[in-house]
Amino acid sequence: MTLGRVAGLALVVGALGAFVPLADAQVAPPAAMRPAESGPQAILGATVIPAPDAQPIPNAIVLIRDGRIERVASAADLGQRAPAGYRVWNAEGLTLYPGLIETAYVVDSNAAAQRAASGAGAHWNRRVIPQVGPEDLEPLKPDAISALHKLGFTTAQVLPEDGLFRGRGSVLLLDTDPGYAKALVPESALFVGFDLQRGVEGEPLGTAYPSSLMGAIALERQTFLDARWHAAQTRAWAERPDRAAPPIDARALDALLPYVGRAGPGMVVFDAPNERDLVRQLRVADEFDLKAAFLGTGTEFRRAKQFDGQTVIVPPRFPRTPDVSSPAKTDSLTLYDLRTWRYAPTNAARLERAGADVVLTSAKLEDRGDFRKHVRTAIQHGWSPSAALAALTTRPARLLGCDATLGTIAPGKIANLVLVNGTLFGDDRSEPGAVRAVWVAGRRHEVEPAPLFPIDGPCVLTVAGGPSREARLDLADSTLQVKIDAERVVTVRRVAIDRDRFTATFDGAILGRDGSWRASGVGVGGAVEGTAIGDDGTTLTFRIERGNSSLPAAPVEAPNAELLAAKRTLADDPLPFPFGDHGLAEAPKPETVLVRNATIWTSSDRGILEGADLLVAGGKIEAVGTGLAAPEGARVIDAAGRHVTPGLIDCHSHTGIDGGVNEGTHANSAECRIGDVVNPEDVGWYRELAGGLTVANQLHGSSNPIGGQNSVVKLRWGEDERAFPIKGAIPGIKFALGENVVRTRGRYPDTRMGVETFIRDAFEAARRYDSLKTDDTRRPDLELETLAEILRGERIIHCHSYRQDEILMLIRLADSLGFRIGTFQHVLEGFKVADEIAKHGAGASSFSDWWAYKMEVMDAIPWNGAILDKIGVVTSFNSDSGELARRMNMEAAKAVRYGGLEPHEALAFVTINPAKQLRIDARVGSLEPGKDADFVIWSANPLSVYARVDETWVDGARRFERTEDAERTARDLVERERLLVDAAAIADEARQKARREREKSDGTTIDGSDAKPDASAKPRPFLLGLLAAREAAFMELVRRGYDPDDMRPGDCGCETQRMGGNQ
C-alpha cells in the first residue's frame, strides 16, 4: 500500500469519519448538539514500542481508524505529518506502548452470589455458584476504569470475587463511558478459589461447609466430578429421551460444562491465598486435566520449581519492611518472614527461570497505584523489562485468546494504546513515567495532561523596577530557588501550582524587600506574570522567564551502583527448602553407613543387641549384627556407649496440616483428605526429627463422627509434600466418638446413642452405593466411595474414643457390617474392654498417662497401655501433640513404670507396634535387613529421661544431627541478624512513614500471603460470642507464652478449630 493511496483513502473516508459521530446502539440519542467524535487519528512523534521484543521506533506515527490500528511507521516515512483528515495528537518526547491487559480484575460479586445461591437450579452449597456470569455483575465504575488507565491498562478480564466456584469472567475494553463498553470475550475464564475467610450470608463464618482447606479441595473435586456426571446425564437424555432419566435442573453444573468438557475446554483461573495452596490448586487442575492458570500472591518464588510449564498470574507484591521498632516485635520475626521480605522482589524473575509463563496483575496489591513502581522493582531484581512488558501485553493476550486483536501495536489490531511520559516501568534512575493518555478501541482517554505551567527548571526572576535574579523552579518538588547574592540562595518550599497559576509566600529578600510577601502568578505567553503583596500592604509585580541559571536542581539521589548490582543478583541466590528456619540448601541423600559398637534395640525378635553394628546402604538396612565390615566409602559412626533404635512412629499426629485439622461443619466428612493439605515446611517436623520421630500418622480432628482421610508420612524434612507420603500404606480415616462429636448442640448426633445410628446409616448408604453399577448413571460420591472402601477392607478406621461403652458400640457395629477397626485412638478406657478389642482385632493407640482434662477421661489410668498389651492388643503410645511428639521415647518408658513391661517391649509401643497398626511394618518399625533405614542414635538408654537424640536418619539419609543442627541454627541466626540490620538501616524517614501507614492500615502481616479475616464476613451475634470467647481464651494462652496453633494432647483439633491459619 503506497503512501499516496493511504492518504487518499484517508481523505475520502476521513471526510466521513471526521464529522459523522459514531452511532452506537447503547449510546442515548443526543439531547442537544452531538458531541464531537473522533474520526481517524494520528499519534505523531512518539517513540513507539510495537511489541515487547521489537525495536523501538523513534519519532513514529501511528494511524488509527475505526478503532483499529491502521498503520505504524516512522514519521519520516510520512513526511513528518499526518495524512489529511486525521486528528493529530502530538506525542513528541513521549513513548507509546501497546495498551496493557489486566488479567485478573476481581470485583465484588456478593449480591450476584447470593442471587445465584438462592436461585433456581442452585447447588446445595452456597459457595458453588459458577452460574454467576458477567451479566450478573455491576458494571465497572468510571472511576475504577480511570484508575486502571492511570496504570496503563486498556483491557481487563473481570472476575467475580465471592464463593469457591465463583463464576465466569469476561474480557472487557476499558472505556469509561458505559455506552461504549465492549466485551472482547463475553464469557472467559471460570474463577475458582479457596475462600474460607469470607462468610456467606445465611451461613456464618466458620459454620458453613467447607470451613477447612481440605474441605474446600474436597468440594472442588466433588464438583468437577459432578459436572462430568451431569454432562453425561444431559447427553444421555438428549440422545435417548425414551430411556434416560431427565437430568436435574443444575444451573451450577451446567455452567461448568465448557470447562470440564472434552472438546475445547475453557480456561479455569485458580486462586489461592499463598503459594502452597496454589500448588494444591495445580494438583486439582492436573487431576481433572483442566486448562488452567493460577492467580498467585507474590510468594510463588518460595516454590518456583513447581510452576514449571504453568501460567502464573502474579502481582508484584512485596511485604513491607519488617518492623524492628521494638525488641518484642523483632523477636517475633522469623527467618521465613525476613527471607520473604528480602526475596519477594525476585518472584517474577525466579518463576520465569523456573519455566513458568508469568503474567502480571495488579490484583491483591495493597495499593493498586503502586503497580508500575513495583514492576520496576521486580525488573531491578533480575527480571527483563521486555518480559515484564510481555507479561502485560502479548502473554495475557494469548492467555485470553485475544492475541489476534490485542497485545502489540500492529496494523489490524484493536487500537489499545498507552502514551507515557518517559518509560512505562522507569529504570534505575527514574520512576515509571506518568501515563498521559490511553486509547481504548481508538477512543482517547486523557489521563494526566501535560503540565500547562510554562516554567520548569532554570529561570530568571525580575522584579518590576528592581533586581533581576537567577532562579530555579522545580515542578516535581514544588520549590522555587532564588539566588540573592554570591553567598545566599533562598528556597521557597510549597509553591502551590494549579495548572497555569501559582501562589506562594516569598521571603522579602527574593523581591529585594523586607518582611514576607504573598505572591501569585499566571502563565502568560511562555512566562509568568506575578504580583506580590507585602505585609505592609504595598504591592509590586514581577516576572519569571526561562533563562540561564547556575542553581542546581534538588539533588537527585544517584543510584547506588553497588546496591543495584546486589539487587540484580538476588535472584541468583539459591533458596533453602523449607524456606524458613532450619531449611536446607539441599535435601540430604541416602548414604552407606556403618554404626558400630552400639546397643541396638531392634524392635524385632532379636531384642536388644549389645556391642552391635548396623549397616545401611541405598536407603535400606543391609545388616544388623556384630563385627560388620565397612564397605568402601561408607561413613562409619562409632556409637560405643550409645544406643540405636528404629525411627519412632507417632500413630496420632496433627503436625504439618494446613488450613484446619477439622472439617467439622458436617457430621460426615469422609471425602476430606489430609493428604491434600500436608505442609512439608512445618517447623514441627524438624523438631520432631530432633526427638527421633521418623513416621507420623496425620489425622483429621475429632469434631465429627466420621472425619477425614488420614495421611501416613515420613519426616523427609528438606523435601516437598510429594516426598512425604509412605507409598503402600493402607489408607485410613478418622472416626470419633464421645464428647467431642456431640458437642455441636442441635446437630445430629447429639448423644452417644445417635453416634451409633448415624455411623450405621452412613455405612448402609455406602453399601447401597457400592452395589450400584459403576457406569455413567451412578453419581460418583467421594464420601460414600470412602466408606465403601472401609466396607471392602481397603481402608481402615482410626477411631477417637474414650469410654468403654462407645468402644464396644463401634466393635459391634463393625462386626455386624463385616469389617475390622484399624485402631482405637486415645482409648483411655480400653483397659476395661481390652478382651473385646483383642477379640475384634483392632489396635489401640493411647496416651501414656493423660487424664482429667474432661469428663470422659476421669477413669483413665496409666496402666492402660500395659493391660491392653498383656491382653493381646497391638498397642502404641501416641502424641496428638507437636510437643509430645518430640519425646515419644519418654512416653514408652512409662509402660515400664506403669505395668512392668520389659524395656524392649515398651519401646515397641513407639516403633514396631504403631507400624503394625498402620500396616507399614513390612517397611519400618524395626531394625531388620531389607527394611527402610530409619534409625536413631541416642546418647543414652532411650527410655532414660537423660537420653538425647544425637542423630536421626530417614531412608538412610541423615535428617538430624545435633552438631550440624547447632551449626545451622547459628548460621541461620547470623542471616537473621543481617536481615534485621538491613531492615533497621532503611532511612529513618522512610521507616517513620511506613510506620504511620502501618498504623493507619492496622493489621497487615509481613507475609502478604496470610489471609486476613475479611470485614465483609459478618457472623451472627451468637457466633460473634463464640469467636470472642475463643479469642479471649487464645489471648490467655499467648499471655502465658503458648501458641494457640500448637496442638496439645487431647485437643485433637477440636478445641482449636483452625480456619486457615498459616505458618
Binding site: 521494638s326 525488641p327 518484642a328 516485635k329 523477636d331 522469623t334 527467618l335 521465613y336 528456619d581 517447623v683 523438631r687 530432633a690 483397659f831 476395661k832 478382651d835 493423660w850 487424664w851 482429667a852 482434662y853 469428663m855 476421669m858 483413665a860 489410668i861 496409666p862 496402666w863 493391660i867 498383656k870 518430640r886 519425646r887 515400664v896 513404670r897 512392668g900 524395656p903 532414660s944 529421661v945 537423660y946 538425647r948 547447632a966 498504623e999 492496622d1002 493489621g1003 502481616t1005 489471609a1011 479475616p1013 469467636l1027 470472642a1028 475463643r1030 479469642e1031 487464645f1034 489471648m1035 490467655e1036 499471655r1039 507464652g1041 501458641d1043 494457640p1044 496453633d1045 480456619m1059 486457615g1060 491459619g1061 505458618q1063
Partner: protein, 454 residues
C-alpha cells in the same frame, strides 16, 4: 528390720481387705522414729554432699534427725528400720505454680475454682478452696509430688498462692503456708495479630495501656491505704489492699506469670518501680531477659521444660536448656510443669529433661525440691534432706527423676502416705475382671505399708 520390697509384698497381701476399700485416708502423725538405711540418698542440700551412695535418713516426730553415710552409731530405742538397699531416697517433689486442689476436671466448669472473675483480686487465697478429697492429690503423691505451691489464675492480680502438703483432712491441715505471695498474671504488652484475632491493633493497644496503668495504680492505691491505715486505724478495712500488705510491707514475693520477653521487661520495670520482689513464672523470653532478671528478680519458676520453642528460629531445645542457662547466670530457679494439675506427676520428667540438656541430675532434682521450696516460701522447712528439716521424702526404685523409677514409699512430715489412688482402685477393679476371665495381668499396683508392719 524390714526390707522395703518385702514390706510392700506383705502390704499387697493385705490389699484385698483394707486396701480394697481404701479411700486414700490421710496418714496419722509419725509414732515411731524411722530409719531408711543402705539407700542412695539424694539430699538436694545447698551444701554438703548432694548424693550419698550408701546412706541413711533417720527421722522422728516428722523431723529429720540425721542424714549421712552408713548407719548412725546410736539409734533411738523403738526405731523402725527399713533396709532400702538398691533404692533411692529423695526429698518429696514440689509442684510450683500449680493449680492442683483448685480444679478437678478441666472441661467441667463446676469443678473449676482457679480463676475469680474480674481483674484485681489479691484478697482470694488458694488455700480457702482446696478440695482435700480431690482425686488429683493421690495421683500426684504416687509419683513423689508431696508438696505444691498452688496458685489462682486469671485476671491481672489473680489472688494469693498457698504452699500445700498434698495430704490432710481439710484445707487447714493441708496448708503449710496459707499466704505465700501475690500472683500477678501479667497482661500482654504487644498487640496480637493472628488469624483468630478480631480486635484491631489500636483497640488492643488501648486495653494494654489500661491494664498496665491499672497495675501501677493498684500498687499506689494499696500503698497509700497501708500508710493511711497505720495512721488512722479507724479507716474502713479494704480486703484487697490488706491482701497486698505482705508484698508491699513484708517483702513477700510477687509471682508474675509472663509469656514473652516484652511482658518480662515490663513486669520487671513495674516491680522495680514499686520496690516489689518478683519471681518470674514463665519460659518464653526468659533467656533473653537474664541480664535484666539478675539484679531485680528473686528468681524464676520455669513453667515446664516440655514446651515448644517460642519462635521458629529458636533451637529445638530452647525450652529444654533454659534451666541450665539460669544456672549459668546464677539466677535462683525452680522447675514447674507449667501444665494441667492432673499431670503434676510428670514434674520429675521436666527436671530430667533439663538434666539431659545441661543441668546435672542433682541440680535438676534441686530445681523441684530445695529451690522450689525456697521460691515457695517454705525453704526453711522443706526441700532438702538435712537434720532439722521436715521428713517429707520419697523412696524410689531408681534414680528419682527417671521415668521408669517407681515410688515405693512417701512420707510427709514423717507421716507414711497412702500411695493408692482412684487410678489404683480402677486398676485393681479391672485386674479382677481379667482374673475372673482367667487372665493374670501380673501388674502390681503401688501400695503403702501400714506403719505398723514390722
Amino acid at each position: 528390720m524390714t526390707n522395703v520390697r518385702s514390706l510392700l509384698l506383705s502390704a499387697l497381701a493385705l490389699a484385698s481387705s483394707a486396701f480394697g476399700q481404701s479411700a486414700q485416708i490421710p496418714a496419722p502423725p509419725q509414732e515411731r522414729p524411722i530409719l531408711l538405711e543402705h539407700a542412695t540418698i539424694h539430699t538436694a542440700a545447698a551444701d554438703g554432699p548432694r548424693v550419698i551412695a550408701n546412706g541413711h535418713v533417720l527421722f522422728d516426730k516428722g523431723v529429720i534427725v540425721s542424714v549421712g553415710e552408713g548407719v548412725p552409731a546410736t539409734l533411738p530405742e523403738n526405731v523402725l528400720r527399713h533396709d532400702a538397699t538398691g533404692l533411692h531416697v529423695a526429698p518429696g517433689f514440689i509442684s510450683t505454680m500449680s493449680t492442683i486442689g483448685l480444679v478437678e476436671t478441666l472441661q467441667v466448669v463446676a469443678t473449676d475454682d482457679r480463676s475469680e472473675t474480674g481483674q484485681l483480686h489479691p484478697e482470694v487465697v488458694a488455700a480457702t478452696a482446696i478440695n482435700p478429697d480431690t482425686d488429683l492429690f493421690p495421683v500426684a503423691r504416687a509419683a513423689g509430688v508431696l508438696l505444691s505451691l498452688t496458685a489462682p489464675t486469671g485476671g491481672l492480680v489473680s489472688g494469693r498462692a498457698s504452699a500445700l502438703r498434698l495430704d490432710g483432712w481439710n484445707p487447714e491441715t493441708i496448708a503449710v503456708v496459707r499466704d505465700v505471695g501475690v500472683v500477678v498474671n501479667w497482661p500482654l504488652v504487644e498487640p496480637v495479630q493472628a488469624w483468630w484475632t478480631t480486635k484491631g491493633v489500636d483497640e488492643q493497644r488501648k486495653s494494654i495501656r489500661a491494664n498496665l496503668a491499672m497495675l501501677d495504680d493498684f500498687i499506689n492505691d494499696a500503698r497509700g491505704y497501708i500508710v493511711q491505715k497505720a495512721r488512722f486505724p479507724e479507716l474502713p478495712t479494704d480486703q484487697r489492699f490488706e491482701a497486698m500488705r505482705g508484698v508491699i510491707v513484708e517483702g513477700d514475693p510477687v509471682y508474675v506469670t509472663c509469656g514473652s520477653r516484652g511482658q518480662i521487661e515490663s513486669a520487671i520495670a513495674w516491680a522495680s518501680r514499686h520496690s516489689l520482689k518478683p519471681i518470674i513464672v514463665g519460659s518464653r523470653g526468659v533467656e533473653e531477659s537474664i541480664p535484666l532478671l539478675k539484679p531485680i528478680a528473686l528468681g524464676v519458676i520455669v513453667s515446664g521444660t516440655h514446651r515448644l520453642p517460642g519462635n521458629d528460629y529458636e533451637s529445638y531445645d530452647a525450652a529444654y536448656r533454659l534451666p541450665a542457662k539460669l544456672r549459668d547466670a546464677k539466677i535462683p530457679f525452680a522447675i514447674a510443669t507449667g501444665g494441667e494439675p492432673a499431670h503434676d506427676r510428670n514434674l520429675p520428667h521436666h527436671a530430667g529433661t533439663a538434666a539431659a540438656f545441661g543441668l546435672t541430675p542433682d541440680e535438676a532434682l534441686a530445681a523441684i525440691t530445695r529451690q522450689a521450696a525456697e521460691l515457695s516460701g517454705i525453704g526453711d522447712r522443706y526441700g532438702s534432706l538435712a537434720a532439722g528439716k521436715s521428713a517429707t521424702l520419697i523412696v524410689t526404685t531408681g534414680d528419682p527423676l527417671e521415668i521408669t523409677s517407681d515410688v515405693l514409699l512417701g512420707y510427709i512430715d514423717g507421716r507414711t502416705i497412702d500411695l493408692s489412688s482412684r487410678q489404683t482402685r480402677l486398676l485393681r477393679k479391672y485386674a479382677e475382671k481379667y482374673r475372673q476371665l482367667g487372665i493374670d495381668l501380673a501388674i502390681a499396683p503401688p501400695a503403702v505399708p501400714s506403719p505398723d508392719v514390722k
